[in-house]
Symmetry: C2
Subunit: 231 residues, 2 copies
Amino acid sequence: MTPSTISDSIIDALSIDCLIFGFKKSELDILLVQHGEGISKGRWALPGGWIKYNEGMDEAATRILRDLTGISNVYLEQLEAFGNVDRYPTKRVITIAYYALIKHEDYTLQAGFTAADAKWFKISDVPELAYDHAKILKQGLAYLKHKVRHEPIGFNLLPKKFTLLQLQELYEALLGQKLDKPNFRRKLMKMNLLVACKEKQTDVSHRAANLYRFDKKIYDRLTEKGFTFEL
Amino acid sequence: MTPSTISDSIIDALSIDCLIFGFKKSELDILLVQHGEGISKGRWALPGGWIKYNEGMDEAATRILRDLTGISNVYLEQLEAFGNVDRYPTKRVITIAYYALIKHEDYTLQAGFTAADAKWFKISDVPELAYDHAKILKQGLAYLKHKVRHEPIGFNLLPKKFTLLQLQELYEALLGQKLDKPNFRRKLMKMNLLVACKEKQTDVSHRAANLYRFDKKIYDRLTEKGFTFEL
DNA sequence: TTACTTATAGTAAATTTGACTACAAGGTAA
DNA sequence: TTACCTTGTAGTCAAATTTACTATAAGTAA
């Protein structure tokens, strides 16, 4: 192979699949694409594709997500490799699952490349998935639920400035349980993690709540001192 | 290829590396092998090798560990995939790291296959490692430290029957911090996780402590009821 | 017997949690 | 204007947990 064909060629035993979780109206969604060609044409699946020979894994994940769904500028984190011998029908393929948690309204979907369509599905309403993607999704959900309690990733899903009730409702949705308002509030405030904006909510037909924002720098500083986010 | 050559053939872009942590005398160790052939002959590295075309990942990890070091009957868990473009010198290789935490004295090392030697090294005294294995080790250590607090994996490292002080010293070593004896004791006892053997320590030149054992069944039962091990 | 080591029980203050109550600050509708 | 929604925010109080200790028991060894 010449250098240029090497750099374009793929590693045919290795793929990447992306779990993109979105959040809207207290519901958790997952981004799926419908295959437009190939052996699973017409079926819904996680956005995925092949890693190129000269491409890093994170880089590949970003590219694949962008090409198939139009979504870019997302921080993708590795979840786990899935490699059952029979997980893929025509040959042996090990796939590395990546995940991210994003805010719907920040992105517009644009199906492309081998994807005929790209759509958000409610977690409770996911169609039958290709390959072992149902298993991957299940693992991802379990991990997300765990992660959200131990790291402040939920803040991605809120507007820059948010009220404590919005934050609480987010956590109630992610964790699937009701939380006590005053107690939730106190717990968060004691972390010294949130910065009070000097603004209030507008356009609400009741007393306006204070707006807060999450400051990554403060979180990092606290983390260095041994603080760990726990909810 | 005929079926038999397929099943023996390897996926040449995919390897497995094993992080085997051991514990002895309040010191954490890591199991390394010295390469006996190939491009890194003479160098120390994590026990690793190629996945076969018709072999599951966990299965491959078990086989590789057994062939290189003689260690078998270990529960290996997947850690993470490492796949920097330049992590391997001659071609693009993505490796999947597995880890386990075991008790030295339960196993005898027996270097084999491509390994010229297999030895335990103190974590504080690891030689220069091949490829990106130093990075993998670092990640594994971080993960281990986290894991040990949230799951009762430490018990692997103790004899079947142990005293509370042994358990405490184990955790002190793993976490790198001193713990208060009565408080540690109370915390563990309240979990109802340990079974008191009706035996005491022998051969000690001081008051003999009660022996306890960890019962996986009890742990599973508690877990079902929503219990989570936290230390 | 005395000194020394480790085991184990207990105590008491401080902190955290959980379940509530109360009141404030707006908007809405009679 | 007033009564009454809804949501925000502060506070209370008992229970549970954590933290930092002290005290005593039980054994070994000089």
